[in-house]
Symmetry: C2
Subunit: 300 residues, 2 copies
């Protein structure tokens, strides 16, 4: 993983619109494992400095994504314990810890899927928005249990089509709607299930734009909203103002008109008061505030 390969990977990370935040965090750890093994260095302090520099640049590339911040910060902290290692030892240990981080985060994701499927159970109609690998994993576990799913297009890039295609392959009866119809279809659902790009310290949800509108409609119609996400998606307190990433307006494919600015903010924030259940690897929680969540809530 030389400098130019790393720069390319960094560019891909910045422009990726398809992968969710935890997939991207794992990709970052994978890049750091490869860097640990391949970066040119004549002594361990030189390698250490370069790994920290790359880690910081990866974190800065996607500031809205708490999982990248959390998994990479944890990895960076673990490097300091390797002080005094020889160059070969540092290479092996830094790469090993990055791979352990990947493994732990995958295990957490699987546990969230199991907890979500166990909580939801058979025979439900589930409304979701955008594409979440965790939500997809819940559907995979419920696919022979008589569920029906309502999915949105999720403009501008329509990742909802990808979800619809997978549900079609699994023969799960599906309705596909425009994002604007979320309010019309909320009442057809038994529950709303969303993944998360991040959770804020108070349990608020940072997710694909439109999630807040869906949460408002679900709340107004009395349909419960469940968020399923691994605990490492929680943004730590004291990180400063949340930055909601904006992408190129050209992604929308609208006509170019003088004086008309096309806006393309990818994420919105759903306040914790609109969320009924938080599902993470530890269980199903009635509150999204971390300190109160330690106890957990099993079942409904």
């Amino acid at each position: 993983m030389d400098d130019s390969a790393f720069e390319n990977a960094l560019h891909e990370l910045r422009t990726d619109r398809v992968q969710g935040a935890s997939e991207l965090a794992r990709r970052c750890l994978d890049l750091l494992a490869a860097s640990a093994q391949a970066v040119a260095a004549s002594e361990s302090s030189e390698l250490f400095d370069e790994l920290v520099r790359r880690c910081d640049r990866l974190i800065a590339a996607r500031p809205s994504m708490a999982p990248i911040h959390n998994l990479l910060t944890a990895w960076k902290s673990s490097l300091t314990q390797l002080d005094g290692s020889s160059l070969p030892e540092l290479r092996a240990a830094a790469a090993g810890r990055a791979r352990e981080g990947i493994k732990r985060s995958k295990k957490a994701m699987v546990k969230v899927m199991e907890n979500g499927a166990g909580y939801i159970g058979s025979g439900k109609t589930i409304l979701t928005h955008s594409f979440s690998a965790t939500v997809l994993g819940v559907f995979a576990r419920l696919k022979d249990r008589n569920i029906r799913v309502i999915v949105t297009e999720s403009r501008p890039l329509n990742e909802g089509y990808m979800l619809a295609r997978q549900l079609s392959d699994w023969s799960i009866p599906t309705q596909l709607i425009t994002d604007a119809q979320l309010g019309l279809f909320a009442t057809q659902a038994d529950l709303v299930l969303l993944g998360a790009d991040s959770l804020l310290p108070d349990g608020s949800l940072v997710n694909k734009a439109g999630s807040y509108l869906l949460a408002l409609a679900a709340h107004d119609k009395g349909i419960p909203l469940c968020v399923c996400c691994e605990s490492f998606k929680r943004r730590r307190a004291g990180l400063g103002k949340l930055h909601l990433e904006e992408m190129e307006g050209a992604e929308l494919g609208t006509p170019v008109l003088p004086g008309v600015k096309v806006r393309n903010i990818y994420f919105d924030v759903t306040p914790a008061r609109l969320i009924d259940r938080w599902i993470d690897e530890a269980g199903v929680h009635k509150t999204g505030i971390l300190s109160e969540r330690a106890q957990g809530v099993s079942g409904r």
Copy 2:
């Protein structure tokens, strides 16, 4: 206007996705004026029966659109006063009353635009959804008064682009967003301005899908929502269950997938509790219930 020309016009009416409800109502009156003058008939009762039949078919073609029901029902009632007229008298009077209906409805629309512009005033940022000729008329009256506008795409047919194009021509600074970003941009607006396809008897709004989501977001963020529409857009009580028209799923342009049903309901219902002001030809009202509206509210 022979039978086949009328059938073509009826088909166009059913499939029109661009014109608003009051433009379509005027087009119906125009068709009836042409029919009154041109339908083959040997005596006035024969003409009368054919005009009533055509009127009823036009009303049934767009059941969600109260203006069509109201303007055409009023015209049909006025025909009964022409009982005993000769065939040429009936032709002239029926056509004349249809043209008067068109004139009255245009006059009401202009008055609504003036009332809306007067109420909103200079220097505001206005968020709207879909394309409303009445809302456009308000913008026309405010175009030199330092307003800024936020418009949505309005999937599936993106009539928001048409609005953005007109605002660009008028040099009104405009932001164009996906429907899913409505919640993100509500806080940037001083007010939300919507037209109406119909109003329900209790003041609820029937409008392009997504209007309900926008209303929820505006309410949640404390941004006032104003609906501007002529009083003939009010659906009468006792008309039975409201039917929300659904169009072809193919309009969305999504992939065709087994087991995936594409839904395309055009209108949603925004409860009166989410609306702050109703602007009609008589003035600006704080309540949407007809009986209480008679008094009117001028100014804020």
